[in-house]
Structures are given as C-alpha cells and as structure tokens.
C-alpha cells in the first residue's frame, strides 16, 4: 500500500470518528441551548406576570380601602352631623392621622351643591356646583366613583373618590381628593432594573402615573398603546426597534391599565453567561475530540504502516526464496540438457586427439594447428563443464559434506587463491581474525565458495589500487553467530541495484567476465547452511558484506 493510500485512510477514519462524536456533541449543545433559553424565557414571563398581578392587587386594595373608608364614614354618621363643617373637620383630622393620602373631604347634596368642605380650597370650592359634571352623574348611578388623575390647584397629581349615600330618603355624596403619590409608589415598585418601566394609563391612553422613561404625567406615553386591554397580557413586542417584554393588566375601578415593561437584554445577561460557559465547554469538548481523533488515527495508521512494512518484508523474503528455488530448478534443467552435448563434444575432441596420436598425421603440415584446436576445444569443454556443475550445485546442492571447521582457516585458504590477483592490481587485503572463534560444524567447500565469490567480487569492484578488509568476530547480541565482514572501498552499489544483487544472472560485469550467479549461489548456500548474507553499501564509499554463520549449523 502507498503512502497516499494511508493518508486517505487516515483522513477517512478522522472524518468518520469526528462525525460520530461531534454530531451528538453538537446536538446535545443545541438542545441544552434551546431548552435553557425557553426555560429562561418562561421564567422571565412568569415573574413579570406575577409582578403585574401583585401590583394590580396592591392598587385595587389601596383604592378599595379608600372607598370603604369613605363608605364607613358616610354610613356611620348622619347627614346632619357631617354637613356640619366643625364635625367634618374632626372626622377629616381623624382620617388624616391614619393616612396622609387624603387631601380634602366634602359633602355634596343631590343637586350638586357643596354643603360642607374640609381642605385647603374652602373658598374656591364651596361655590362650585357639580350638577353637570360627568363624575357627579356617574357616582349617583354606580354608588362609588374613582376619577382619573389630574393636576389640581396645587399642581400636584391627585384624584377623586366619591361615594353616594342614601339616608332617610336623602341622597348625598361624600367626596374626597386623594394624593396619587401612593399610587406612584406602588407602580414605581414594578420598575425593574436599569431599563425597566411601569406606569398606568387610563382608557384614553393618558398617563396616570409618571413613568421613568415613557413620557410625562397626563400625556400620551411614548410607548405602545395598551389602553384597550381587557385581560392580563404578557408578551415580547418590538417598539422602536427594541425587543421589549410587556405586561399589561386592566384595573377594574378606576378603569385603568397598568403597564410594566422590561428590557429582556438586562435579564438575559445571566442567560448569556450560561451560554458563554456552554460554548466554552463545547469548544473544549470539540478540541479534545479532534486532538484525540487525530492522535489515535495517527497512531493507528503508523501501526498499520509498520505491519504493512513487516508484511512486505516477509513477502519479499518469500518471493526471493521462491525466485531462488525456481531459478535453481531452471539452472539445473539447463545444465543437465547442456551436459549431454558437452559430453559428446568432449568425446569427439578426445577421439580426434587419439587419432592424431596414432596415425601419420604428425608429419602433416597442419598437425600443430589441429593439435592446438583440439586442446582448445577440450579446454572450453572443461570450462563449460565447470559452469554446468556449478549451476547444478546451485540447483541441487550436490556433494555437500559436514566437517568441523575453523572459519579463519577457510578464509586464509581462500585468500591464497586471490592474493596474486590482488597483488597484480595493487589491492591491499587487510585481515583481522578473532583468534577465539569456536570451530563449527559446516560444509567448508560451500563456505569457501561463498567467501571466494564475495572477495572476488570485491576485487573486481575496487578494480585498481584500493583496500579490502576481512574481519571475523562473534556476534555480540547472539553468541551463537560467527560473523565475517568483508568490506571494500570500491565505488559502492546504488540504491536501485542493491535489491537485485542476489538475483541470479544479475551482473554489472561484462558478459564474458561473470555469469551473475556468484552472489545468488552464495545467498542460497548461506540460507541452506542456516546463515545469512547482508549487504550495506554507500555509493562512492564502498560496500560491506556481512556473512553470519551459525555455530550450531546442523543442516545438511
């Protein structure tokens, strides 16, 4: 498998893992976000609804109390007594000692004439006739009447409460002016936060209390019109581009509407904090998932790569050994087929030689030439015979023996074959033998063939003027292995070629110089003997062959 394939696989694993872990994470995040939002909205709406109800109750309670207070006075005192201003002053003082909200108190008969008055505007009001006033007619029909707020002579906001009393067939009206500061206070209690507002409008959408932001008393509020509300409403509405949460609740008597507004943003700060925390946790989770996925995938693909590498390595070995086996068979087959013709050529040449010896041809002119020819033919037959026998050995491993041998001794013997050649080419062979090498049981001829092949190759590689080192030692990690290291300072082997050098018929030499079988035969021999040949090479620096021979070589 290629590098690209692994990268693609890695990306796939990352994508799938991220998909399966991030989708639930984001779903959870989104669910929490919306649940939290709606819960918070509900809570906010609910608390505003409660606030509105609560203020409405307070307002109604306050006004009902004033009405019943007036009723009590009217019911418990006779008209005559109350029409007496001295007595009325007493009553008024008693009322004021309990509550400062009463400003004045007056008695009006059924014709609308002021009969008695206690308060700051005695002269002005005593002469007023109310017969044509709307409230006068209203109080006579409903029994109790509460007016809208107005600015009186003192320019202070107040309103009127009037109750009708029927006593001994006489109809009369008790009227009181009430300071609306208390109502303002109750309403102001609903002005929440920095941007929240609360106010009362009447049915004509005129402000009855002073709002914080939404206009001035007794004008139209600079806000949405809730004056026609018939029941409690709480909703978020957009006004002048701002989302605002409104609550509007009608008050029965007087016929007003309490409006409370709230800036959701202010309340939302808490929600935003929660969202922020959630986002941080989510981001952290995503970060962890990504890091974890990438790291795990990387570890996994690395492991896969290693496995693949090991696999291809062992596959290479299998291919190499099966290649060797197939080639061995082929080589043996070819050698066998060639041996027969070789035999015949050799015999024919021999026969000719015999004939030359026995007859008078010796005296002929070309006798020397014939003789030379036959000798050359015989020499070439012998050469071919050596090749075919070597091929057969490669294929069949014939004539193996088992002896107790000293590797140093074998190397020394091998070098004697090659010393002349090396000397001739000005190549120095340095040796460094480990004298403590144990003797081992193996096939000395085959081992010698291996050494011969490799050292011969080294001489050819160096060519002219160079060095070859031959060393023996026992493997430090595995004392059962004897190592023979043969290094040269020749031109080295390129990366492309190094994998092929053990292939049969692979050679860099000219066709008449080498068969390309030496190293493959050596490789086969060492595998057969339970050892191994490894090669290290650097172009321009030289090549090193390391041959390991097992001490307990019991094969063959």
């Amino acid at each position: 498998m290629s590098q690209k394939h692994f990268e693609k696989l890695g990306l796939k694993i990352i994508a799938v893992t991220l998909g399966f872990s991030l989708i639930p994470l984001f779903t959870l995040g989104a669910t929490i976000y919306y649940q939290f939002n709606s819960t918070f909205q509900n809570k906010m709406t609910e608390s505003l609804r409660n606030l509105a109800q609560n203020r409405k109750s307070s307002l109604e309670l306050f006004i009902d109390e004033r009405i019943s207070q007036l009723n009590t006075i009217a019911q418990t005192h006779s008209f005559e007594k109350l029409a007496d201003e001295t007595f009325l002053t007493k009553v008024f003082n008693a009322m004021q000692s309990r509550s400062k909200s009463f400003i004045d108190l007056g008695i009006i008969d059924s014709e609308g004439n002021h009969l008695a008055y206690v308060g700051p505007y005695h002269d002005k009001l005593m002469s007023v006739n109310y017969a044509h006033e709307d409230w006068f007619n209203a109080v006579q029909s409903t029994g109790a009447y509460v007016s809208d707020v107005f600015l009186g002579f003192r320019k202070a906001p107040h309103f009127i409460i009037a109750v009708t009393t029927v006593q001994n067939n006489r109809v009369w009206i008790l009227r009181a002016t009430i300071n609306s500061a208390i109502i303002d206070e109750i309403v102001a209690g609903a002005q929440i936060g920095k941007r929240g507002d609360a106010f009362i409008v009447n049915r004509a959408n005129i402000l009855q209390t002073a709002p914080r932001f939404s206009g001035k008393l007794l004008t139209h509020p600079s806000s949405l019109d809730f004056s026609s509300s018939r029941a409690l409403i709480v909703e978020t509405l957009s006004f002048q581009g701002n989302e605002t949460l409104y609550a509007a609740v009608p008050i029965v008597n007087p016929n007003w509407v309490l409006v409370i507004s709230e800036d959701p943003q202010e309340e939302m700060a808490l929600l935003f904090r929660a969202h922020y925390i959630e986002a941080v946790i989510l981001a952290f989770g995503v970060f962890l998932v990504i890091i974890g996925t990438v790291l795990t995938t990387r570890v996994m693909t690395r492991r896969l790569k290693e496995i693949e590498k090991e696999k291809s390595k062992s596959e290479d070995l299998i291919i190499q050994s099966s290649k060797m086996a197939a080639l061995g068979k082929m080589a043996a087959g070819i050698a066998h087929e060639i041996n027969n013709p070789l035999q015949i050529i050799g015999d024919q040449a021999g026969w000719m030689k015999d004939l030359l010896d026995s007859e008078d041809i010796k005296q002929t002119e070309n006798f020397e030439e014939f003789d030379q020819c036959i000798k050359k033919i015989e020499r070439q037959v012998n050469r071919s015979r050596e090749i075919t026998h070597r091929l057969l050995r490669f294929g069949r491993r014939m004539e193996t023996t088992q002896e107790l041998v000293d590797i140093n001794q074998i190397l020394m013997e091998t070098l004697t074959f090659l010393e002349n050649e090396a000397h001739f080419r000005d190549i120095q062979i340095q040796t460094n033998y480990d004298d403590n090498l144990p003797k081992i049981s193996t096939d000395p001829n085959q081992l010698q063939q291996v050494f011969l092949n490799i050292i011969d190759n080294a001489i050819d590689a160096v060519g002219q003027s160079g060095q070859i080192r031959v060393e023996t030692f026992t493997d430090k990690q595995n004392h059962k292995q004897i190592m023979v290291k043969i290094s040269d300072n020749g031109p080295g082997i390129s990366r492309e070629l190094i994998s092929k050098i053990f292939d049969p018929f692979f050679t860099t030499k000219r066709p008449d110089e080498g068969t390309g079988l030496g190293l493959s035969i050596s490789y086969g021999i060492m595998e057969k003997l339970g050892g191994h040949i490894a090669v290290e090479s650097e172009e321009g620096k030289g090549t090193t062959f390391i041959i390991s021979v097992p001490q307990g070589s019991s094969s063959m």
């Binding site: 043996a332 050698a335 066998h336 041996n339 027969n340 070789l342 035999q343 015949i344 050799g346 015999d347 024919q348 021999g350 026969w351 015999d354 026995s358 037959v381 012998n382 015979r385 075919t388 026998h389 057969l392 050995r393 069949r396 014939m398 004539e399």
Partner: protein, 130 residues
Amino acid sequence: MDRFKVIVIDDEVDFVDTMVKRLKDKGLESYGAMNGPDGLELVESKDPDVVVLDVKMPKMSGIEVLREIKKKKPLTEVIMLTGHGSVEAGIQGLQLGAYNYVMKPVPFNELLNLIVQAYDRKLIEQERGV
C-alpha cells in the same frame, strides 16, 4: 590390458558411437545400444564384463535396466551415468548393485579408468564365486 567386453547404453547416438569407437581403439570389445530393451538384448547375447548405463532414457529408465541386468547377469559390473547430478539416482544405483556412478560430462580417461576398475572387481568377484 585384458581384452574384455563393454556395452554402452545411452539414448544419445553420438555419445554411444564415439564411446564404442574409442573403447575399441583402446583395445576393448565394445558394443552400443540406444535404449533399455535393445541394451538388455545385447547384454544377453554378448554377456559383457562392464556396462556403461545412462540413468535417464526413454522407454525404460537406467534404474530398471540395471535391475534386469543384475537379475540376468549378476556378475556384470554397471557404471551409471547421471546427467542429473542427482545423488539420489546414483545412490539408488549403488543400492541396486551398480559399481559406481559418474556425472556427465565425464572426461574419457576418467570413464576408462572406472571401466577398468570395474572389470578388475568383476574378476575378483568371479574368483570368489568360483
């Protein structure tokens, strides 16, 4: 050298012809056959001292021919020629009573030496048998 009888059995015509010619030249009475059955016939009619026998032949393998020879003429010595270079065929031959085995191509002088040695052994065996 005694003039003794040698039969060469091999499916290679040129090999058989040359061998027979050269053996005759060395003063031996020699015959050739191209396959097992012909060879066996020849062995029966000529009663040779030594047979040079190729292992790998069509019709009848060298090993079978060797068996037949040893059955009919137990004293005849047989030298096996293996083109295979296989130890097994040679060893099998030895087990069946062949004198020796040799791998092709073999120089004529070597083969001649072997033939003479085989004949010598035959003489010793004959004496012992008598």
